[in-house]
């Protein structure tokens, strides 16, 4: 087992494009981040910012028209960008695994949940069926499924949404992976269940020392989970820092706007502001700063030049024309 805080996955300058009739359109541009054992990095942004594409790219699960244009993904020193299909298959589900937003559609409707949890054990651990089933049941116990031995024989449609997400987590963690990618794991659940699932992920992270890449559009959820936060807008990371630095000291106008749209318990305002406008689609990104058309602080040169990187501390960085480091 690796010690906490060791860098286990390192993404640098990753750019991804989609092949279309008009040529290769950039979707993800120059994204860099590290994942640390036992820590959670939250990737935050509105829908359509490229969070899922980034996450799937780590396992090379891009749509058929997706290309990694440049950059590197290093997992324990192994370069994943130019790994072969069978090398990456050996990593998927064993060392790096995923959970999805919609637990219903991510479970195969014709198999029992027990056999789905057992699958990665069969694929990677080459256990015999009985052993794999037994471990699957243990895993279901670990994620808090009551009466797991019986429940394991159920089909996905016989479970509630929260239970299904627990099953997804059991599937993802059955081989005790180093990294868990959670793509909006609680978005489809109601608030109380959401809290339970977040607590569960926390507990399991402590138990297994898993590094988590936690994807969400909701700062409320992120504040409960994240050790580090990276904010993504139109395929770029526009601000990053330790969780505290971002949650209380965000400087990028987009991050501030996102934080302002998050409901707070101590809030005196009853109406939440919404950010006007929409995330530009890939291929329709403006010439200068991508956020400029929606930015309240934008000045003339924002629309012409790409914003420079600004370092506010060793860990807190952003790209913006209007923010200068003290």
């Amino acid at each position: 087992m690796s010690s906490v805080d060791e860098t286990i996955l390192s993404v640098s300058n990753l750019s991804i494009g989609f092949e279309t009739d008009e040529g290769l359109i950039p979707v993800i541009e120059e994204v860099s981040f590290d994942l640390h054992t036992g820590r959670t990095l939250a990737l935050v942004g509105e829908s359509g910012c490229g969070k899922s594409v980034t996450a799937f790219a780590l396992l090379k699960l891009l749509p058929p028209f997706g290309r990694i244009i440049s950059g590197s993904i290093k997992f324990r020193g192994q370069e994943l960008v130019d790994s072969t299909e069978s090398e990456i298959q050996a990593i998927r589900g064993d060392r790096i695994s995923m959970i999805f937003q919609e637990p219903m559609s991510a479970l195969n409707p014709v198999f029992t949940i027990g056999s789905q949890v057992a699958e990665s054990l069969l694929l990677h651990r080459h256990l015999d069926k009985k052993m794999a089933w037994q471990q699957a049941v243990e895993m279901l116990v670990a994620v808090g499924i009551p009466d797991a031995a019986q429940r394991a024989k159920n089909y996905p449609h016989q479970l509630s949404g929260g239970m299904r997400q627990r099953v997804m987590i059991a599937m993802a963690l059955s081989c005790e992976p180093d990294i868990l990618i959670a793509d909006e794991p609680t978005t489809a659940l109601d608030v109380t269940i959401q809290a339970q699932i977040l607590d569960l992920m926390h507990d399991l992270q402590e138990r297994f020392g898993t590094a988590i890449l936690f994807i969400s559009h909701d700062f409320g959820v992120v504040s409960r989970m994240a050790d580090y936060i990276a904010v993504m807008y139109a395929g770029k990371i526009i601000e990053r820092g330790d969780a505290g630095e971002i949650l209380t000291g965000a400087r990028h106008p987009y991050t501030c706007a996102l934080l302002a749209t998050t409901p707070r318990i101590d809030a005196s305002v009853t109406r939440l502001p919404a950010i006007s406008g929409r995330v530009p689609a890939p291929g329709q990104r403006p010439a200068g700063c991508y956020f400029q058309p929606r930015c309240p602080n934008a000045s003339d040169h924002c629309g012409e030049q790409r914003p420079p990187p600004v370092d506010l501390s060793v860990t807190h960085q952003l790209i913006c024309h209007e923010v200068v480091s003290e």
Binding site: L59, L61, P64, S86, Q89, A90, I91, R92, G93, D94, S97, M98, F100, E102, S105, A106, L107, N108, P109, V110, F111, E119, S120, L123, H124, Y155, H157, Q158, M168, M171
Partner: protein, 267 residues
């Protein structure tokens, strides 16, 4: 019922192939419940044995055709691209072949001339194998198209992505994740085509190219009855009616199985 043919044969003390020229084309009686045919054979027993042959032919041929169709459809749908294009053009090609003339040519092929061993060519079952192969050669296309269509939609579902995410390879995903979701589709297609094969067999038999006498099948019984349609209409009526009922039953069976096999339909 048809499975019990030998038992019923014993019970009645009759033999399906026993010729009794003095009792030709009898109407129903105590000894011959459904009467006798043009050679004085018991119609009930021949119907039962014919049923065995027809159903077995239908099932075997439909299953062989479905297996070929499933593999082709799954491959085309899953891999897509050029492989899909090639396989689907082949399918279109087979579909656009004029079916009946082709069947007649295939059915009339002199097997000895294409180098098959004598004992096979002269065995009683050769007409059976012939039908199965013919139907399989032309009948896989429906299942192939169905399976391809279903594969295309299933492979976009998130659980296939999830399966890739746990490190499953292409073949594993095709056969262990997609195929089980297609079973009900395939079974329905098979049950429906069992009916079709039985019809096809009777068409071929009607042309004298199907299951060969003395092995009875509903198809060749219908053919024999044709010549005697005025003297003994019941001889055409019984097998015709049975084909009709069987085909309908298989259609109902298809529906029923679809519901029974779908785990979501348990409520």
């Amino acid at each position: 019922m048809v499975m019990l043919a030998p038992a019923i044969e014993k019970l009645l003390g009759l033999n399906a192939n026993m010729v009794d020229l003095f009792n030709r084309m009898q109407p129903a009686s105590d000894t011959h419940v459904f009467g006798t045919d043009e050679l004085g054979r018991d119609v009930l027993l021949r119907l039962l044995y014919g049923g065995q042959v027809s159903l077995f032919t239908g099932l075997t041929a439909a299953c062989v055709a479905a297996t070929i169709g499933t593999v082709i459809g799954l491959t085309a749908g899953y891999f897509g691209g050029r492989l899909d294009a090639i396989l689907m053009r082949i399918t279109d090609g087979v579909i656009s072949l004029p079916l009946l003339p082709l069947l007649i040519v295939l059915a009339a092929l002199d097997l000895e001339k294409i180098g098959l061993p004598d004992e096979l060519v002269n065995s009683e079952e050769v007409s059976f194998y012939r039908i199965v192969i013919i139907v399989a050669l032309v009948g896989w296309t429906t299942v192939a198209r169905l399976v391809r269509g279903a594969t295309l939609s299933i492979k976009e579902r998130e659980f296939i992505m999830a399966a890739e995410g746990v490190g499953a390879g292409h073949l594993h995903i095709m056969f262990n994740h997609i195929l089980p979701n297609l079973i009900s589709t395939i079974i329905v297609a098979v049950t429906l085509s069992v009916g079709n094969v039985i019809l096809l067999e009777s068409v071929l038999s009607f042309l004298g190219l199907g299951i060969q006498p003395p092995m009875p099948s509903w198809g060749n019984m219908l053919t024999n009855a044709q010549a005697l349609i005025w003297e003994a209409p019941q001889l055409a009526f019984y097998p015709g009616m049975l084909i009709f009922i069987t085909v309908i039953c298989f259609n109902f069976l298809g529906d029923g199985l679809q519901d029974a096999l779908d785990p979501r339909a348990e409520y």
